[in-house]
Structure formats: C-alpha cells, structure tokens
C-alpha cells in the first residue's frame, strides 16, 4: 500500500519549476491546485461510497468568506483569511452534513445538489451581502504585515498552494491510513458490519464530510485570492459536476489523484480553449470515457500500477 514516492516527488519538482519555465501557466496551476483541494474533498466521500453533487457550494462558501471578510470586515491578513474561510466552510459542512450523511446513494447526491442550489440562489439574490450576480471583488491580502503588489502576491500564492497541497495532502493521507479512515471505506463495503463492530457510521461519515467541506472551502479561498473576484457561478451545479469528474479522472485511490486530475484538466482546458471552444467538451468527454473503461482507478492508478505488479511477484 506504499505510495510511489519517487514519481510524485518528480512531478512536484516539475510543478515548482513552472513559474520559471512556463510563467503563463502559473495562474492555471494555482487555480488547479485550489480546485484540487475541493476535488480531494469529493474523493474522500467517494471512498465512503458517497457522491456529492453539491460540493462546489463549500468551494463557494470559502471563496465568499474570503471576499466578505476582506471587503466588509476589513480583514486583510492572508493567514487569517485562509483559516477563517476554511473554518466557515467546515462549520457549514458540519451543520449540513449532520443531516445529509444520514442518506445514501442517489438521495445523498441529490440532497447535496439541492442544498448547493439554495446556496447558489442566495449568493445571486442577496445583493447587499454577496453583490448578487456581480459577485465581490477580492483585494490582494497582506502576508504577515507584508503588502505585496498583485504580481508578487501571485508568485507567492503559487508556492503557498504547492506547500499546502503537500502538507495537507500528507495529513489527509495519514487520516485515510488511520482507523477512522479505514472505517470510512468500510462503510462503502459493509455498513452493517461496521455498526456491529461498535462504530457509528454517521459519526465516521460526518467527520469525513466536515473535512471534505473544509478542504473545498480552503480551495475556494485560495481561488478567490488568485482570481481576485468571486461569483455565484462558483456554487453552480456544473462546478460540482466538474469536481466529481476531476476526482474520478484523477483516481480516488490516493490523495495525489485529486491534484493530478485537477492539474491535468486545467492544462487540458487551457490548451483546448486555444484550439476551439467546442473542443473542450469533446476532449473531456473522450478522456472520461477512456478513464472509466481503461483506467478504473484513474490517472493516479497508472502510477500505482507499476508497484502493483512488483507486489504481485513478491507474494
């Protein structure tokens, strides 16, 4: 069950070179990693056998929290903004999750979608608070007293995203290896047995739901800072669908999958849009079909498969 560490380190090194080697990709990658956090949240729930079709709402909640705290509450410190926005999304996840994780399968998926549509409607209509369909501007934050210009901040944010990806990715990985993480995937295969072992499926799922909302919220806050603007569309259902697609494409076998999927899709998007506007949907559709039929464990499964074969001969 060990990770293919050398390959991941190589990919990481490549990412770190992006601002130098491909400066125009810096923004794309920052956004990809931000969305990767949300996709990781979705992937966590997939491990428990639950598909959320509404997780973009937590991404939006994190983004709006950052925008709101910055523009209306006068908070400008980056650390404070990130922590507070993540906490707001986590709290929302805890409150909605307490009710949502009682449901399974299509009911869970649809109820998440329903709640996210309410959030979308609220962000569009509550003009006084959310700026309605115009959204809110996000000012460039300060970093522990340092007030960088937009360009300097973007450079900083890029590396911060990579750092957070590594640190939080590692923590989530540890969580999945812990008893509670194993209990999560056990719900997927046999909830009855889990309850008979004395473990509450509800608590197990609520924990993972709250973590997943926090991850999505953090992603939203990072995206808000990177884009400099938040819009109700962040919570729209197509965004939620995109997150599920990213998680499945990347592979839910490991934490890295969500980020690999997200970076892959964002780069593909950039390239495809350059060619022709319609090409994007076509390419995405074909990519997804290929993954489902040939790589059931996602792109990440490709990397892992190399180890799988050595493991088999070892046994």
């Amino acid at each position: 069950m060990r990770k293919p560490i050398p390959l991941l380190v190589a990919a990481l090194a490549l990412l770190l070179l992006v601002p130098v080697a491909f400066p125009h990709l810096k923004f794309v990658i920052t956004l990809a990693v931000a969305k990767g956090f949300a996709a990781l949240g979705v992937a966590l729930l997939l491990r428990g056998g639950l598909i959320s079709l509404g997780h973009a709402m937590y991404f939006a909640i994190g983004a709006y929290a950052t925008a709101f705290l910055g523009s209306k509450a006068g908070v400008s410190d980056l650390v404070l903004l990130l922590v507070a926005s993540t906490a707001v999304a986590a709290l929302a996840g805890l409150v909605f999750g307490a009710f949502l994780v009682r449901y399974r399968a299509i009911f869970f998926a649809m109820l998440n979608l329903a709640v996210s549509m309410v959030i979308f409607a609220l962000t569009s209509k509550l003009y006084g608070i959310t700026g309605g369909t115009d959204g809110l501007r996000v000012a460039v934050p300060t970093v522990l007293g340092w007030a960088p210009g937009k360009a300097a901040f973007d450079g900083f944010l890029f590396y911060l995203c990579i750092l957070l990806m590594v640190v939080l990715g590692w923590l989530v990985h540890r969580y999945l290896q812990s008893p509670l993480g194993h209990a999560l995937s056990a719900i997927h295969t046999n909830e009855v047995r889990l309850e008979y072992l004395g473990v509450s499926a509800w608590q197990t799922l609520l924990t993972s739901y709250t973590i997943s909302a926090a991850l999505a919220g953090l992603g939203g806050a990072l995206a808000a800072m990177s884009i400099g603007h938040v819009l109700p569309e962040f919570a729209f259902w197509t965004e939620s669908g995109h997150l599920v697609l990213t998680a499945v494409l990347g592979g839910i076998g490991g934490v890295a999958g969500a980020f690999i999927g997200s970076v892959f899709l964002e780069i593909l998007h950039t390239v495809a849009v350059g060619v022709a506007a319609e090409a994007w949907n076509l390419i995405i559709g074909l990519a997804l079909i290929c993954v489902i039929f040939f790589l059931p464990r996602g792109i990440y499964g490709l990397i892992e498969a190399r180890r799988g074969s050595t493991k088999e001969t070892g046994l």
């Binding site: 069950m1 923590l171 540890r174 969580y175 290896q177 812990s178 008893p179 509670l180 993480g181 194993h182 209990a183 995937s185 056990a186 997927h188 295969t189 046999n190 009855v192 047995r193 889990l194 309850e195 008979y196 072992l197 004395g198 473990v199 509450s200 197990t204 046994l315």
Partner: protein
C-alpha cells in the same frame, strides 16, 4: 451447566419478545435466558425464527413487544453498535466483511473499533494490532490468507473470517449464526474445537444456531428448540434428542 444458575442473574435475558413480518410471526412471545459461561445452542427448522431472534437480541430489529437485558441492564431497542459496545458480538449466517480490505485489515479494524476508533492520525496498521490479528488468524487456521482481499476468499473461509471479527471484539457473549455451515464436516469439528476452547479460556459465553446435531451434542451445555417463532422445548442435548416432538419437527430438515 453452571451450578448456581437458579440464583445468579442471567447474562442474557429476553422476555416475551415478539415481531411479525406481515402475517408471519417470526418471534411470538419468546422467553429466553443464558447464564454466564454457558454455551447454548439454538436448533430448529428453516424459517423457525432463529436468525430473527439474534437480530432482535443484537438490535438489528426492534421488537414490537417484549424486552432484552444484558447483565441485568435493559438493551431493548438499542442500536447494534451500542449493544456491541455493551459486550455482545455477532457472526452472521451470511458473512459480513469489508470486501475491499485484506483479511488482516478487517481484523485490525475490528481491534481498533474495540479500542475506540478515534485515535487521531495513528495508522491502523501497527505492530500491536498486527500481532493480535495474526494470533486470531492462526487460531482459526487463516494465517495463510492474511493478505487476501476478503471479497475473493472462498465461501467457507469467508464464514470463518466473519467469526474472527466477532471474536476479536473480546465480547462477554459471542453470538454465532450457523458458524459451521459451508465448512466441510471434518473442518467443522476442528473449528468448533478451537473456537469453543478459546472461549472457555477467555471465560466467554456463547449462543450459537446450529443445524449439525453432532456439533450441538459435543459443544452445547443446553439446547433450545425453536419452532414457528417460539421456544418449543429446551434441555441438555441428551434430553432434547430424546424428545419425540423435537425429533419430528427438527430432524426432518437436518
């Protein structure tokens, strides 16, 4: 049989338990008691309500009427996870496993659940759990399959794997639903022998549903005969086997 069974508080007691599914009365006023350290076998024809009784006792089904006590404390209508924490562990007639986990991971998860699942970021896979899990697997002759995904184990081994999960909880009362069905008749005795010996050593009590009368005779202190949702007769294996009514209703299906 325990010598002080008349005065001691029973470990498990059920009174007037009843549940029906439509017109079928699967439990129809069941009274039942099991003493500490006692091994009780439940026998009865197919559809008599044996599994239903276990479902009622372990909280999977809520009775329409009646009560259950463990160690004198009421457990009626509690959820399975709470009853499990009170000390009743169950193995199922149809194995209930985490099919995407290896056998040893299944077992380590059961051990972690027993110790409390909230353990921060400490990995499940740790020395102490692994050692204990291997001990249990060796006890039941499953050590060679430790790393196999339980979903791919053959039926007989899945059944044993299911028993190890209940056993690992170290319960006061182990409930087994036809533990040896799907296991070859030679294996049957070896398994029951190890299991029952281990349970005696730990001072556990057992309640098991069993179709094989030879197994019942060998390992049960007392036999309770089920028929059409109620207890039809009970006694020592010898007493029950010499009861003509029992022979007529049960032996036909054995």
């Amino acid at each position: 049989m325990t010598s002080n069974s008349a005065s001691a508080q029973p470990l498990l007691r059920a009174e007037d338990l009843a549940i029906s599914f439509g017109a079928i009365k699967a439990a129809d006023g069941v009274d039942f008691a099991l003493q500490r350290n006692e091994f009780v076998a439940i026998i009865g024809p197919n559809g008599a309500g044996k599994t239903t009784f276990l479902n009622l006792v372990t909280g999977y089904l809520k009775p329409h009427r009646g009560n259950v006590w463990l160690d004198g404390r009421p457990i009626t209508r509690m959820a399975p996870r709470r009853i499990s924490r009170q000390g009743i562990a169950r193995a199922f007639q149809i194995p209930q496993l985490f099919t995407d986990h290896s056998l040893i991971d299944n077992l380590m998860l059961a051990i972690a659940a027993r110790e409390g699942i909230w353990q921060g970021l400490t990995p499940l896979n740790r020395r102490a759990y692994r050692d204990e899990a291997m001990e249990v697997l060796e006890l039941l002759g499953l050590a060679a399959d430790a790393e196999t995904m339980t979903g791919t184990l053959p039926e007989g081994l899945r059944k044993l794997a299911d028993i190890t999960l209940a056993f690992a909880l170290n319960p006061k009362l182990l409930v087994l639903d036809e533990p040896t069905s799907g296991v070859s008749s030679i294996e049957r005795f070896r398994i029951m022998e190890t299991l029952m010996n281990a349970m005696r050593r730990r001072g556990l009590s057992a309640l098991f549903v069993e179709h094989d009368m030879e197994v019942v005779q060998k390992y049960a202190d007392r036999v309770v005969v089920w028929n059409a949702g109620h207890v039809m007769a009970e006694g020592t294996p010898a007493e029950v086997m010499s009861n003509p009514e029992v022979l007529e209703s049960v032996v036909g299906v054995v």
